[in-house]
């Protein structure tokens, strides 16, 4: 009973928030004399877009669904590659003081660099804009995963280590039964942060590279002078980002444990 009540309450709050946003949006639109389109005209253009999202009329004229799909594929590739590199290195960093001392300065220098700065490097290496975009997502996904994995691995509690010591666990058993299960929630925290930043960066990356993805859709709409499309694109980016985050939050929960 209480559960249903709190669920209803949550929905009410959600609707209040959305309502406030729409109200603010509509008022801004009136304030700018329609320079910024309001919710109603935006919805008209946006629903038109969603009617046929997968059309393909050549390289510069694709449906928004197709562009979105392209962005998701590039994020997935970059993110997976980043994960494959970051997790092992994170484990290395977390378990060896020497590795930490050697690699930490490098990580600290590279981490604050905007991933977009890597775009020319990617272009130089791969000679192709799509690959360069995957490359910047790869770089983006490295740091949060690396740092969180290293943190998880380096903070295995003494109690757990004592169990391994007292019962003479083999190195393999220690890694599989203690180190890994303990670090997994931390690794997933890193992955969740990584995918979040990757989704932020892909839009900017595709604006730079042009011709593909949801980022290009935004830029192309600007060039075509359609604010309605831009706002529609922003909504799509926001909703997809939310879904990605929720998905990883579910994963994260399924790998955590009660103390």
């Amino acid at each position: 009973m209480k559960n249903i009540q709190s669920n209803i309450l949550a929905i009410v709050y959600f609707l209040c928030g959305i309502g406030a946003l729409l109200l603010f949006w509509e008022m801004s639109s009136r304030f700018t004399d329609g320079e910024l389109p309001g919710p109603v005209p935006t919805w008209e253009v946006f629903s038109e877009l969603l009617k046929d999202p997968f059309y393909d009329f050549g390289p510069n004229d694709k449906g928004v669904g197709l562009l979105l799909w392209g962005s998701l594929v590039r994020v997935t590739y970059g993110f997976l590659l980043g994960t494959l590199v970051a997790v092992p290195f994170g484990i290395l960093l977390g378990s060896s003081k020497i590795a930490m001392n050697i690699l930490n300065p490098v990580v600290q220098i590279l981490k604050p660099v905007s991933p977009l700065a890597w775009f020319p490097i990617g272009l130089a290496i791969f000679q192709s804009a799509p690959s360069a975009t995957v490359f910047i997502i790869f770089i983006t996904s490295l740091w949060p995963t690396l740092i969180n994995t290293a943190f998880g691995v380096s903070t295995v509690p003494q109690d757990h280590k004592n169990v391994a010591k007292a019962f003479g666990f083999s190195k393999f058993k220690y890694v599989v039964k203690i180190l890994f299960p303990y670090s997994l929630p931390h690794i997933f925290t890193g992955l969740r942060l990584s995918i979040g930043v990757a989704w932020l960066v892909i839009v900017a990356g595709e604006m730079l590279s042009g011709g593909m993805g949801i980022g290009f859709f935004i830029w192309d709409s600007w060039n075509a002078g359609s604010m309605e499309k831009i706002i529609g694109g922003i909504l799509i980016i926001g909703i997809v980002g939310l879904l990605l985050d929720k998905g990883f939050s579910v994963l994260q929960k399924s790998f955590s444990y009660e103390k």
Binding site: H160, A166, F167, K173, P181, E258, K259
Partner: protein
């Protein structure tokens, strides 16, 4: 002050005379020092102590007096800076399958079920058994401590008492000849504690009282109820053994009756006096 009651049981006397008692643990002039920023710090200093096979010995003292450190030299988790410890005649250089450990805070792995927690220890220690023998052993152990129906639960779903039962079952499962318990019941409520005492003794009896048990505690009643001898430690740093008190109460002991036993009361007073001697008379009065 009378530090030592010269009252070992008759049986022990006879065994000793015949040369039948075997020392399960021999602590020889053990000193443990730690390096701190302020310099070397002796946790325990020059302690010697023998524990006979099948004996239950409690180590009691104020917190921070080095009880756990002393215990850890037997388990092999801490290396003595000087002196040595023999377990079953062999010099202790690290943890071994002949010594089972129960930690202060249960130390179960939270992502493994009750069954898996015990299984991984068994799997690691008893390498000679095949898989089905290991499984049977874990199941039997769980039944012995009445945890079988909880075998698929995670530690987070168990009460403190049940967690400690799992920890004890884990230590018993590998069938060590020496069982080391580091303040095992400290976090439990009085009722749970009492039933855990009975369970521990039950397991000890089941094994024909062959296992040697050393327990660190700060609970006087618990120490008297369970032990054959109680080692009282001085306050650290550089803690030493202040006294060894014999507990010649006949087993099986009964919780309710034992407290009225004059012998029990005598030992209780003696221990209390030893642990409280830093306080003034006025303090003791106000405490009682």
């Amino acid at each position: 002050m009378k530090n030592n009651i010269e009252a070992p049981t008759l049986e022990m006397h006879i065994k000793e005379d015949l040369g039948l008692t075997v020392n399960s643990i021999e602590i020889k002039n053990v000193t443990v020092s730690f390096k701190t920023p302020k310099g070397k710090f002796d946790a325990v200093k020059d302690i010697s102590l023998n524990v006979r096979k099948g004996e239950i010995v409690s180590v009691i003292g104020h917190s921070g007096c080095g009880k756990s450190t002393l215990m850890n030299t037997i388990s092999g988790m801490v290396k003595p800076s000087q002196g040595e410890v023999l377990a079953n005649g062999k010099r202790v250089t690290g943890p071994g399958p002949d010594r089972g450990l129960v930690f202060q805070n249960y130390s179960l792995l939270p992502w493994l079920t009750v069954y898996q927690n015990i299984y991984e220890a068994v799997d690691s220690v008893l390498k000679d058994l095949n898989k089905s023998e290991k499984k049977t052993l874990v199941k039997d152990t769980l039944k012995m401590v009445n945890l079988y129906e909880h075998k698929d639960k995670l530690p987070g779903q168990l009460s403190g008492g049940m967690k400690q039962r799992v920890a004890i079952a884990r230590a018993f499962a590998i069938n060590p000849s020496i069982l080391l318990l580091d303040e095992p019941f400290g976090a439990l409520d009085a009722l749970t504690k009492s039933s855990m005492h009975i369970e521990l003794l039950k397991l000890w009896n089941l094994d024909n009282r062959d296992k040697t048990i050393v327990m660190v505690t700060h609970d006087i009643e618990e120490a008297i109820f369970l032990s054959d001898r109680i080692v009282v430690m001085n306050n650290g740093p550089a803690a030493t053994v202040k006294a060894i008190v014999d507990v010649p109460l006949i087993r099986p002991r009964h919780k309710k009756e034992i407290v009225h036993d004059p012998e029990y009361m005598k030992i209780h007073d003696q221990l209390l006096a030893m642990l409280m001697d830093k306080l003034s008379i006025a303090d003791i009065k106000s405490n009682i």
